[in-house]
Symmetry: C2
């Protein structure tokens, strides 16, 4: 049985006392039935992973006592995932999978053919925390606010390459150019990009088109496939 991992927004270090918020206390002591002395693993996105013991267990709070570092900080590569939100459950899956696969920042984008006009950023961020707790990550990617794709491209830092996944380009290669530095993956919406978007993306000097096979992939499948291609060719796999 693997130990419980918890993300906390608190400094971690030898002898550090970590206070628990109500939801965490409920989870540890109410749901998981941990008692005083029980061991958990903590990470905060800055100090690596630490083992800690339950010092005080209460219904509405409690404290943990940090013991020793169990793993150093291991942030993912500087890779963003830009995706058009789809139906709720599948958007949740995209967030979960991007964390497992090792993206550093998740950017929901609104394209011309995106149905969803708003997202619950806080809900998606909570999903990212949960995925990081489960997959053994020591950081949690930030979920950005929904942004319009055209505006995002207006202010784009050209040193960040964009791996462009476009289902109309099935004849292309799955190989990426070996360009170091920051990258982003852009997954199109389920309705595809508009002609105007496609023309603009193709003309930008920092986009690199890749093909994701001969079949049409759903957005969440495409996200994992694209992240696999990037991680094995340029990332930390």
């Amino acid at each position: 049985m693997s130990r419980i991992r918890l993300y906390v927004d608190h400094p971690l270090g030898a002898g550090q006392t970590v206070p628990l918020i109500r939801e965490q206390a409920h989870y540890l002591f109410g749901v998981m039935r941990l008692g005083e002395g029980a061991e958990v693993l903590l990470f905060n996105g800055r100090d690596g992973e630490w083992s800690a013991r339950v010092a005080e267990a209460g219904k509405r709070g409690g404290t943990l006592a940090c013991a020793a570092q169990t793993r150093p900080l291991a942030p993912p590569p500087d890779l963003w995932l830009l995706f058009a939100p789809v139906k709720k459950a599948r958007t949740d899956f995209i967030v979960e999978k991007a964390v497992e696969m090792g993206a550093a920042r998740l950017c929901p984008v609104q394209t011309e053919f995106t149905n969803s006009e708003r997202i619950r950023r806080d809900r998606l961020q909570a999903h990212a925390v949960e995925a990081a707790e489960q997959c053994g990550a020591t950081t949690v990617p930030e979920v950005a606010d929904l942004a319009r794709l055209d505006r995002l491209l207006d202010g784009w830092d050209p040193s960040r390459r964009i791996m462009l996944c476009d289902e109309t380009r099935a004849g292309d290669d799955a190989a990426l150019p070996a360009e170091p530095g920051p990258w982003a993956i852009l997954i199109g919406p389920e309705g595809g990009f508009s002609d105007a978007e496609r023309a603009r993306l193709a003309a930008l000097p920092f986009t690199r088109p890749v093909a994701l096979g001969p079949r049409i992939l759903r957005a969440d499948t495409a996200a994992v496939a694209a992240l696999t291609l990037w991680q094995t060719q340029l990332g930390d796999w």
Copy 2:
């Protein structure tokens, strides 16, 4: 708006009349509100993809008239996916994703640490049909009955290599040996393989271990990542 694609278990060819079963008639005429003369795309796993027009539309049945072949038969490579069933929704996702990614056969396997002792094979097969309809495939992979991993290995054809995805081998490479011929991907259960299973798998002459990155992937994420690795190195991408 893309056209409706329908899997039918009936020969397809120029001038061929295709009868619809009750569920298909309900979907086409009740849900999608197609009328006589409307065009759909058909595939049966043998004759490629054909356009067809609604000849008769009824509440409990109807017929389609095959017109012209729109795509040749394009079966996926001879790649099986062996996976331990997980929770219902995630098992459904594994089936859907394996079809999109291009697996030829889906084999649920029971390992020592697999919780699920039975599956609904017919339900999973229906999911595979639906995924094939949506992703543009011209074949539907067969979903096999649940089999015990040890018995499956007892009768294994050694000419079929097994790409072994084991989360305890994070230091390994993601590269596959360029061995042609039939392959299978084996995704471990969420609780991991037992020591006995791991020892046996490592000793078999047809297993090839690969690593899927430094983070722990859920079974459905691992399936897509492993299929991506295989398809880009040895498959049809």
